[in-house]
Amino acid sequence: MSYTPSSGRRTNYSSRSMEEYFSMDDILATEVRIPCRFQLPVYKLGSLNPSSQSPDLLPGTKLELPLWLAQALQSRHIVNVELPKSYRETYREILSADATMVDLHDLGPYFYHIGLYLLNFPYADTEEISKMLTQTFKNRFRKVMDASQHTLQEETSSWTFRLDMLEVELFNIGQKAFLEFQEWQARKMEKICTSGMVINHKKRKRAAMDNIV
């Protein structure tokens, strides 16, 4: 399971569980770029900053860095991590107005995942961010649950594109349990079905034979 929660807060890489260490979702999520402002100079890496000619990265430079790098640099006080705009007050207000209408895939798609990491940085409005994350999740949950308890229809599939990855994972989990139950009801579980691959292989073979004749 790729989305197994850790047993504690996620502060850094060395305290994570194996499932998180090897977790695809975490690797992908921590690639997301976060705005950072350099506090100390970093020599000879000036080329990372496209808007300056300097051979070094000067203090005050603003760059977007992947979260995993930002975290490491922040702990050494080389940069100050700034709050990405989707977590700032404007967006928090939009989410508190009607969380279910927002396209979290667009804002994310790892909105909650990144949000949890961000809570470890010393922002002024950490408490509001954490409240927002929890409230948004709770408000959107009903729709995720209800959708997962029905077989996939047109409207549902277009709506699932606007879900954050965590919500997609939960939706899939709910769907799977629901479909398993449906199958049990229809007693399909007792029969061993021919694998689709075998059926297709037979069709192709027959087609090939027909061509020869």
Partner: protein
């Protein structure tokens, strides 16, 4: 069918349900059979005898018995139950903790032994739907509230199992959110 950690398939729930005792009327004779899980028999033609459901199913499939419908597999009883469940805000106690599985099994192998089988099947399904809708609302209220635990006395295992993965994973995530937020700002550690 997954046999994994933290997961139970509907078939496994049914496996547990098959331990329930039901009454059959055998059409054969045999002495007592000493099973590990308890003695069954002796079997005397047309005399009622109690056996576990898994055995009853097998005997029925081999046409060696007739099944006695359980006392709650009755149109009037179930109509009343359905009304009761509909009117009650909370979950009512079901006549059997395995009502869904038992009904499904008996209907598939012995509908001829159950009067008004189709009606009964419909009523059971209606009761199930009412309870599942209630369950979804309860879950939503639980998630939105501040509670950290819930009591679910009259829920049956099949009902619990259908929502198990979604509910436990969601609660796990919410707990994680609570933990991180209650620590407030923290020092990032060296790596």
């Amino acid at each position: 069918m997954e046999l994994g950690v933290g997961i139970m398939s509907p078939a496994e729930v049914e496996f547990l349900a098959e331990k329930e005792l039901v009454t059959i009327f055998p059409n054969f004779s045999h002495g007592k059979i000493y099973l590990i899980s308890g003695d069954v028999g002796p079997f005397v033609p047309s005399l009622p005898v109690q056996v576990p459901l898994w055995l009853a199913v097998n005997l029925k499939q081999r046409q060696k018995c007739r099944l006695l419908p359980l006392d709650w597999m009755n149109k009037d009883v179930l109509e009343e139950k359905k009304q009761e469940e509909y009117n009650n805000k909370f979950f009512t106690a079901m006549p059997s903790p395995h009502y869904r599985e038992i009904t499904q099994l008996l209907m598939s192998i012995a509908p001829m032994d159950i009067p008004h089988a189709e009606d009964i099947q419909t009523l059971i399904k209606d009761i199930w739907d009412i309870r599942m809708a209630k369950l979804r609302s309860s879950i939503d209220a639980f998630i939105k509230g501040e509670e950290t635990h819930a009591k679910l006395d009259h829920l049956t295992l099949m009902e619990i199992n259908t929502v198990r993965p979604l509910l436990t994973n969601t609660l796990n995530k919410l707990y994680q959110l609570r933990q991180v937020s209650s620590f407030g700002t923290s020092e990032s550690q060296e790596w």
